[in-house]
């Protein structure tokens, strides 16, 4: 059994708690949060021990693994303390607001041979995994453009209040929503070299951006575009879409389906034919041992646990791959501040 503890019991934290607790190979021995009320309920109704000081929890419980689901601003310190205690670490996204620190932590985890993972759960969604597989098989030929979109109903009126509305705490749709879309781009076609034309706009928020747009430039001539808006009420929940154009076809992907268009000169790939092809999540998604809100949330925890057990360190969504997202976010912020590259439109 893997002895594990969890820090942070917000919406993601509670969901992680349920999933970890239900995992047959993980023994969740402690949870930590700042809400006395929540801790009171948990200690009354569940077997788990509750703490309000994570350092105390680590020293008393001596866990093998630590799950961190606090606001992003606390990630770096907690990850460091956990790694120094020789714990495998699963941390929520975005990984580190300070990319230099993030890189140090990735180095530390790798030197110690500890499993390190960040919660970019879209890498565990079956349709995106299938897209990756098809791209690696060169199914649509040389890819020349990728578009990543994410829309959803997070901020629909002026307000402040939670950490999501504070830039310094890792709030804003760039960290919260765009990071997922950027990570999917990195996962599917590799990371871009530079970014331009970045727009970070406020719609309702006072301190953070509600919409994000930008263009990615890759080493091999590939380009990409990003469009993110978390103030879009037309979606019931977060909606993420990837479109990829290759010389021999195109793929439209969301969490539920893949639409694949192949030209006649496309390289034959088993099961795909010329014209439109459909792939559905109902056929692609393997079952998980416990389901809450989506197979991918369980699948990512299973992946983490499996790596701890097997000793495999060649894993998905590592600290290092998450830092690639943070570096892109960082570049986007710098680009948005710098308007010198604009070409004015003549009369």
């Amino acid at each position: 059994m893997i002895r594990a503890v969890l820090i942070g019991l917000g919406k993601m934290g509670l969901s992680h708690q349920a999933i970890i607790n239900a995992h047959p190979d993980i023994d969740l021995v402690g949870v930590c949060d700042t809400s006395d009320y929540l801790l009171g309920i948990l200690s009354k109704y569940t077997q788990v021990k509750t703490y309000s000081d994570y350092r105390k929890m680590l020293s008393q419980e001596k866990p093998d693994a630590v799950f961190i689901a606090t606001p992003s601003t606390f990630h770096a310190e907690m990850v460091r303390v956990a790694l120094e205690a020789n714990c495998h670490v699963f941390c929520e996204k975005p990984f580190c607001l300070d990319t230099k620190e993030g890189l140090q932590l990735a180095d530390l985890a790798e030197q110690k041979g500890l499993v390190n993972q960040v919660g970019y759960h879209f890498r565990f969604v079956a349709t995106f995994q299938e897209t990756k597989r098809l791209l690696d098989l060169d199914a649509i030929g040389r890819v020349h453009h990728i578009r990543a979109e994410a829309y959803g109903p997070v901020v629909l009126r002026p307000k402040g209040g939670t950490w999501r509305s504070q830039k310094s705490e890792g709030g804003g749709s760039l960290y919260d929503y765009a990071s997922h879309a950027i990570d999917l781009v990195n996962y599917l076609v590799g990371k871009p070299q530079s970014v331009g034309g970045v727009v970070l706009n406020k719609i309702y928020s006072r301190d953070v951006e509600d919409e994000v747009y930008g263009t990615f430039y890759f080493a091999n001539g590939l380009t990409g575009q990003l469009a993110v808006n978390w103030s879009d009420e037309s979606h019931r929940k977060m909606y993420t879409k990837i479109t990829v154009w290759g010389e021999n076809g195109r793929m439209d992907v969301n969490r539920q389906e893949i639409q694949i268009y192949l030209r006649d000169k496309a390289k034959p790939v088993s099961g795909l034919s010329e014209g439109w092809n459909m792939r559905y999540t109902t056929d692609l998604t393997p079952p998980v041992w416990y389901y809450l809100r989506g197979e991918e949330y369980s699948a990512q925890i299973a992946h983490f646990a499996e790596a701890i057990k097997s000793g495999n360190r060649n894993t998905v969504s590592t600290f290092r791959s998450a830092i690639d997202v943070d570096l892109t976010v960082d570049a986007m912020v710098r680009n948005a501040e710098n308007k010198s590259g604009l070409a004015s439109i003549g009369a």
Partner: protein, 297 residues
Amino acid sequence: MALERILFGDNQFFGVNHMSEEKARAQSIRFRDNQEIIDVLKVVYDEGIRVFMCTTHDRMAGICDYFRANPRYADFQFYPCMPYAHKYANAVTDLGLLGALKSFLPEEGKLGALFKGGMSVARQDVEGMMGLFIDAEMKMFQGLKTPVIFLQNVFVDLILGLGMHDVFRMFAEHVRNKYKAEPGFITMNTPMLLDVLEGLGLENPIICSDINKLGFRMCGGKEKYEELIATRRFQPIAMSVLASGAIPPREAIEYVCAQPNIKSIVFGASSRGNIHQTKSLIEELTQVGKPAAIATS
């Protein structure tokens, strides 16, 4: 009480489709007005289906008003499913956990009293709060027949995973005592849940979960489900029988009807043709599978 064999579901009305985003959008355009939903439900009733299993979505209030006001539908039953998860999830993002709890309870005073007790009475907090929440969600169904009241899967599965199993007992007691209704549980994790409910002494529980030929969203595996259905004492209700359209109707219903002891089948549809076809298929294949057991009371 006996469960009805055929239950009409509501996913299609609120833009939920597990397979296709486009289908979901087309449906939410079609059902923009409550009248469109009511018109489909009238067809459902005329086809002889007597149960509408529905989420406690805000829009349900207007639909309830219609059926309450029309004596022609006096024997139409509602199986409410609560809570409508997105409403709460969005509020938690906005207001934090406690803020969200407060925002959904109309009677601030009562909640204040619950919190005042502090940690020593955390037990009473949860039990009292459960009651307040159920009552708030049940308000729109006042005066309608609600013989079964369900807890939604997001909530059931969260509580199940956290191991806060006592909450299931509290829910069951409240709906039995206050609404004279049977508690039902929607889940994606039937094998795990059944063990827990039995452990709590909730005998022969009503459990609604995805049961389909593909094995889609059947945690623990299709074979495990088949074994439980054949050997354990509970009242399984099959939903997502068509896996959102991934399995052809006859094949899909054949599979479910071939399982012994499945009490009810939930399906959703938008047209008279599909409603009629699905209902006829269930009746035909139920007779093939189990000659004596059409349970439409």
